[in-house]
Amino acid sequence: MNGANTAFVLISAALVMLMTPGLAFFYGGMVRVKSALNMLMMSFISLGVVSLLWVLFGYSLTFGDDIGGGLLGNLDHIGFQGIEPTSLWGEKPDAIPVLAFALFQLMFAVITPALISGAVADRVKFGAWALFITVWTTVVYFPVAHWVWQADGWLFKKEVIDFAGGTAVHINAGAAGLAVALVLGKRIGFKKDPMRPHNLPLVMLGSGLLWFGWFGFNAGSALAANGTAANMAFNTQVATGVAMLGWLAYERIRHGAFTTLGAASGAVAGLVAITPSGAAVNAWGAIVIGLVAGVVCSWAVSLKYKLGYDDSLDVVGVHLVGGLIGTLLVGVLATDGVGGAAQLGKQALGAFTVLLYSFVVSWLLAKLIDVTIGFRASEDEELGGIDQAFHAETAYDFSAVGGSARSTVPAATGASAPQKPHNKKVDA
């Protein structure tokens, strides 16, 4: 076992974990006050649901030996059977504990369905969402991650390069977001009512946490504390910074202002685009990838108004388009001997296969949930705010008057009595 690599991967796993709450803030600040908590919860719930799935069967379906055809892992490790703290992943002398690898990969499985939630802001039943990510992770994420990252996976064998998840994570989530947004339909008042972000500092906080955690996401994917990891970490920083500049420049020319939301969004677009490609390019490649991602994604987020689908927080414009840019540009900009037309073809095969599979299965799954238990919140719930409807909470207390608290003190004891929890037995 390699101690340095193990430490690096464990720390990277913790960094990637932080991306999910970071994403929650990034998305949470972009919605209106009445659904801020729901937006946070749609990401947060994934930390629970997917962690459980991963132990039950997710790890086995993704990284178990192939059942044939490179499509899915077998069931040998269901319930993590056969995996001990001494079990190793990788070849000596670089090998790390399987548990460290599995924890790192779990965090990818957690954030991917959470990414989709940006497409469905303000309008889904929370229970239906939890069911959706449970099934989606099982039938879409686990197989696709197996295709791309497991040595037996069919796209891995076709030499499609997805270093840290441009295909398995971002194109996958982006295509699913588009599919679910189409099934659900638009928010009430889309293109008519103002749907301004309620808290841009929260968006900045979220994008900052994403940027920070992304070093684990990208560099950690080397699974070793080595030059590949360093190259990836360096390119992550450069591409992200340049993408922010690209987005801001586009905005200044098209809309007359350098916006905060644009800076945060540009950074995320750059992070997405460098994810699949960063290990195969040098710093100049990272600059090109960042610039292209910043400008093109900035343009792409306006597509929803032209085409009429309501991808609330631009999962398509940022993650699908950014993921495609990074995945395809490997074929153009790679400096480690893998670039060229042949590689571009392989990259396109991987990108569009995953796009198509994710879109079709996600659409069918969303439709199935919609016609059985109902996916979309009622009109009243949506207009009144899904925070109150599904979480019995509101994010902020603005009212100085009008609140009526249910007393926690029995009326007979008087208002001056010390407060006791009203639903717990208190010792005399």
Binding site: P194, R196, R254, H255, T259, G262, S265, S302, D314
Partner: protein
């Protein structure tokens, strides 16, 4: 008696308060308000989607004065509120039938 009402830019509030005190006004009421005049509001851009924000923040100041002071007081408020830029607001006065100081029950000019 007259009620002077001014709807003005929030950052002029301190100037107006000082001018009113210098004039000898004893008390006033301030309310946060929002609205627009001829200029409407401003435009904000979020990922390229433009929103017109036409209700802009204002403060509403109300002062009760005796009839003979009303015109002068309107001038004082206008002078203190003016920046010369668009959206400076409006000041108006209306007649008041009666006023009572709640603590003492004094009525009319004595209540001011």
């Amino acid at each position: 008696m007259k009620l002077i009402t001014a709807v003005v830019k929030p950052h002029r509030l301190d100037e107006i308060k000082e001018a009113l005190q210098a004039f000898g006004v004893q008390g006033l009421t301030v309310t946060e308000a929002s609205g627009y005049g001829r200029q409407r509001g401003h435009t904000e851009v979020y990922r390229g989607a433009e929103y017109t924000v036409d209700l802009v923040p204002k403060v509403r100041i109300e002062v009760l004065v005796e009839d003979e002071d009303a015109d002068d007081l309107v001038d004082v408020v206008v002078k203190a509120a003016r920046t010369g830029k668009i959206g400076d607001g409006k000041v108006w006065s209306v007649p008041v039938e009666t006023a009572v100081r709640v603590r003492t029950g004094e009525r009319g000019p004595d209540a001011l």
